[in-house]
Assembly symmetry: C2
Homo-oligomer: 323 residues x 2
């Protein structure tokens, strides 16, 4: 069976070997740039791990699941325009390095490059693969819209928040796991189990991201903390704080979130409020709940336990539990 | 056999019956809006006419070719952002009526709604349909990029211009005809002929659009003339003028195109220059050449002449030759 680093290398190679329309470098250069910046390649690697767990034959899956990474990067390019984000993974975003028009259009092209990858699925699963992909792609767009809506909303309930991150982040991880299962020859029941594994893992992963944005070690996390606070993002930390804060604390948090005061003191004051409310430990424990659910679904999968080791390692590594 | 108005009605109904994700009206309202504004539904109607010419059985094709209209509108929504166009078909554009972010995202969702439509193609042609669609979708993006590049370029050759409109406009009309042929059960040779029919028709159609933007009757054309001149678009009229203008005329045309003077006099002066250079009649004759080529390919199609009448009527109606 393949290890996670082996599969990451396979996906990186597959991304480099994507074919491009030759008539406009102005359009394909941004795509090559964004796909070369890196990242964990979580979605295709997860898909290949699931495929490998069931089927021991990943070759046919490599190009199709590469499409999941292309799609993920498509969403990042467009989201970064909408969020006016200047930097992603330590590099200038496409609309900053080029311009908004090229970012819209090179994002668009990635959506169709995704199709080209997926289209290389074997005919017997092609429709199933595309159906789950389309549904998921639309859900991811809806998740981004909800995320933007929430920036303007005063109150966001925990249910609304969880649904938003489920759509924006978790369903694509879930779909990756399901598509991997289809390539591995798993039946619908098994594919459903893997979807739930991915969905729960994805929610846990996003809650962790929220926690790290405020409490992460800059050296480990690779970006300055407090970005979500400054961008007025309704993170899980904020949502939870608003659940349990006193009237006075609520007022203060809302004021801090909307005021245009000094960024450093703003981040510090919001964090202090979170500390008073023990938001970090509560969030970590919710994250653990989702992570545990994910592992429960992995246990349910109908393959031998020793075939699950790599997937279990991946799930652990997402939460900083590498050995 | 079906007539053009009958097929337009079928497509309009199919567009109304599209299913939408129910979780974000903020995202689906712009899609419903843009799809309800109307237009000729040229691409799906053409596809169904070609299908009907070969096969006499359009039912299976209706939903998949509806996707071609959804895709076309996706490109309009994103192009209008890039071109900063406030109005389309007499209605506010999506980014004007809502905002740029919603226009990006509701455009994105239309790309995946297109996939959902195409996915309903029968399995025996599904890969062929998707392959031609993906290739075409990427080409349309490249065409839009070239169009934007040309706005900044001083000199655009006729070859470059024709290639740009081929990509931006003609290949989707060509692909629609090819997809119609596939649904009608035509073989690859016939599908190629129909592609060429559509490609030539599309180029003629775009040259006509360029002519009408300067010389059209506002009442018939539905928009104010001179828009391309004010947007500094390198239309065929401009490209041709730069081919044959004297050094002095070239200088004047460039100055007029780039200057920020009064719009009314700007349009008048550019038009006068075009008149001096007999640009209109030359452009019309080139348009006729492409139209004639298209009709030549239609003649080559391997079906009885009486099955070609509706397609021939459609081709005529695009050039104002309705009876």
């Amino acid at each position: 069976m393949y290890t996670q680093p082996e599969l990451k290398k396979i996906i990186d190679t597959s991304l480099v070997n994507l074919s491009y329309n030759q008539e406009s470098e102005r359009l394909t250069d941004p795509v090559k740039y964004v796909l070369s910046i890196g990242g964990k390649r979580l979605r295709p690697v997860l898909a290949l791990l699931v495929c490998d767990m069931y089927g021991d034959k990943i070759d046919e899956a490599v190009i199709p699941v590469t499409g999941l990474e292309v799609f993920h990067n498509f969403t990042l390019v467009h989201d970064d325009i909408m969020d006016r984000a200047p930097v992603r993974r330590g590099f200038s975003t496409v609309h900053t390095k080029w311009n908004v028009n090229q970012a819209i259009l090179s994002g668009d092209i990635m959506a169709f490059m995704t199709n080209e990858c997926l289209l290389q699925s074997p005919l017997n699963i092609l429709q199933k693969v595309f159906r789950i992909f389309n549904k998921t792609a639309i859900e991811v767009c809806v998740g981004q819209q909800l995320d933007m809506d929430f920036e303007k909303a005063t109150i966001v309930s925990r249910e609304e928040y969880i649904r938003m991150i489920e759509l924006k982040t978790a369903v694509l991880i879930a779909a990756s796991a399901r598509i991997g299962a289809l390539f591995g020859g798993a039946d619908d029941r098994e594919a459903d189990i893997m979807y739930e594994f991915g969905r729960n893992l994805g929610i846990a992963f996003q809650i962790r991201d929220d926690i790290l944005d405020t409490y992460g070690d800059k050296k480990v996390f690779g970006k300055t903390t407090g970005g979500d606070i400054l961008a007025r993002k309704k993170t899980f930390l904020y949502v939870r704080a608003m659940e349990i804060a006193s009237t006075e604390q609520k007022k203060k948090l809302q004021e801090l979130y909307t005021a245009d005061n000094d960024p450093v003191s703003k981040v510090r004051e919001v964090t202090e409020l979170y500390d008073q409310l023990r938001i970090r430990s509560f969030s970590e424990s919710l994250m653990e709940d989702y992570h545990r659910s994910a592992m429960g679904f992995l246990e349910k999968a109908g393959t031998a336990a020793d075939r699950k080791t790599e997937l279990s390692n991946l799930a652990g590594s997402l939460f900083g539990r590498d050995n």
